[in-house]
Amino acid sequence: MGSMKKIILYLEWGSILGLLSCGLWVFLKLPIETSQGFPQKIMYLHVPSVITTYLAFFVVFVYSIAYLWKRELMFDQIAKASAEVGLVFCALVLITGAIWGKPTWGTYWVWDARLTTTLLLFLIFMGYFLLRMSVNDRDKEARLASVLGIIGFLDIPIIHKSVEWWRTLHQPSTLFKVDSGEAKPSMPPELLYPLLASTLVMLAFYLYLLLLRYQTEKRTDRLNQLLAETQV
């Protein structure tokens, strides 16, 4: 238990300092991007949030399958914690995207495939928590939530590929661009490295929030268990 506490503390301070220094780096050191100018800087919040959202719901997907397979309550606690954090990051994606869209596209929102499927992801996982809240039996809750968590994750490959499959206002991928079989992010290194750094920091922040929420979740379940036992 002691080591877990230590890890959480390290992650906490690591992400605080990391986010702070990435912010300073982006605003004070980075060159201004040629075509978009200053608004491009929101990319350093938007893209790391996207990748964190992808990872958070992937964790939900994996632990939901694990729960249905092994019926270990711990797996459901992790899935729930990750879904919660993922939902916050998904909201951040939608908000930063809207703020970025206004000065560049000329609109906060359009119903194109990329934006619509991202909103759908947000709504699916809002539904995921409504489902959890509406079921009183803990095992039943875990079972149903696992199924929805698995289905909900399937939206992510659709989101990611939407800009290739369909005509969208949103531009194709910059970071995951592949040119004749080779990974070729279409941005110069002085813009790319800070983006990778911000992403790493954001993932550390996610891990911190995940572990914190998981611990709370574990204690809540234990408490409810003890209360149920004493009432009998």
Binding site: R167, Q171, K177, P188, L191
Partner: protein
Amino acid sequence: MKTRTKFVIGGAVILAVIIALSVQGLQEMTVFFYTPQEVLASPSKFEDKTIRIGALVQKGSVEWNAKAIQLSFNITEDGNEFIPVLYDGVKPDLFREGQGVVVEGKMKGLRFEANQLLVKHSEEYTVETEQKKNKEDYYKSIQAQ
């Protein structure tokens, strides 16, 4: 009729409506805009219907009327076929020649009257040093047409 049968019928109707609406919505969503070629190929299909067209702003075609707050330009995909666009409104910050745009409005004869002008920027990010090279590439590509 049994209550259960009613539920089944009601559920089926709701489900059918949901599916019909999502299929329709999905079609609209997957084709966020048409290309100039598609519109020019069957003008009667698009006449007087609110549509979106996505293309590039043709070089040398932009005219800005500051008094009337009116912007006119041609959009093209291949440099051969183009549609003249008239837009009532101010120029967006990122609007420039050669830029990808999505216009929303109606075809009036051969001209497109837009009430919304969106800029579709590319996934390429550059800083000052690369700007010159890209500009040169762009002029070369225009001359090659």
